[in-house]
Amino acid sequence: MNEFDYKTLLEKRWRQKLTPAEEASVREWLAQHPESKADWDLETQLSAGLEKLPEVPVPSNFTARVLQAVERETALPKRSTTDSPRFMHVLRLRAPAAIVSVVLVLFVVTHHQHTQAKRAELVQGVKVVTGVSSLPSPEILQDFDTIRQLPASTGPDPELIALMK
């Protein structure tokens, strides 16, 4: 037996008792490797201790209770997801976020409509300007600046009117 076989038998001992032949092989190995003896003893004692762990008591009506639980589960109509307390809990948690989202969407829609209305107004103005078919010739406007600089309060000049008459 080599070390690999020894390890294999050690792993086997974790789960079950060894056959007499396997035990003999281990004894032979341990005789040649006395440094492993203490660990082997601890391993076998631990395995024996784990095997002797008492079974946890199972109530006598355990199976009946399982069957009742299964009956209850199968008899229950499938609940709609909106009825479940978990759904309501999630809804409560997310309601503020939903309200903020709705307000945001309303704002975006209103802003978009306002922008569209302004754009339509501008288009209308451009249409009016492009509708003017002819503009006065530039010669007519040659004294425009002089005329514009005349005082606004100046009324008709009676002297000039008399002379012209």
Binding site: W14, L46, L53, V58, P59, A69
Partner: protein
Amino acid sequence: MSSNLDPDAALMLRVKQGDKAAFTELVEKYKQPIMNLAYRTVRDMTEAEDLAQNVFVQVYKSASRYKSTAKFSTWLFTIARNLCLNEIRRRSRHPADSFDATHPDQEDQPLQQYEDKKTFSPPESLLQGELAQQIDQALADLPENQRSAILLCRQEELSYEEIAEALGCSVSATKSLIHRGRETLKERLKAYLRTGESKNEN
């Protein structure tokens, strides 16, 4: 149906068709190992019973998804371990549930029902030797994956491959978990194990 089909898988195929007798047979066969695993995970008798009950309810509800190619015991222990992990997670989120907390599905029912301890003895009272008590306590203190690996290792019908499947890891990782768990147990129980040397045969 194949003649070399795992007998439990054959029962499960009947459960799939709604056969309650086959289901009862499976519950009877596996209630003890499932209770052992549940109790040694949650360390509370009432919760262990509820957990074990849920494991079988889950088996019944999931019967339609069961494939006969899977060994029933591996599938069962996988469900059991997942529910145990859920319970551990729930406990870590709610370390002390209020006695008045209501059940999420039935608002008129308390979250937990506590059985009168006078009517049921906790397993501690049944632990005979000091060694058994010490092993039980040392097991409880192991990390969950090492403890589950060691407990599943006690199930003779499960191979290392099947234990690995139930734990969701490779065979080598499973053996490593068992080895590390056992090393911790040996270190902690050294004094007790040596004392019991003369009493415990190999």
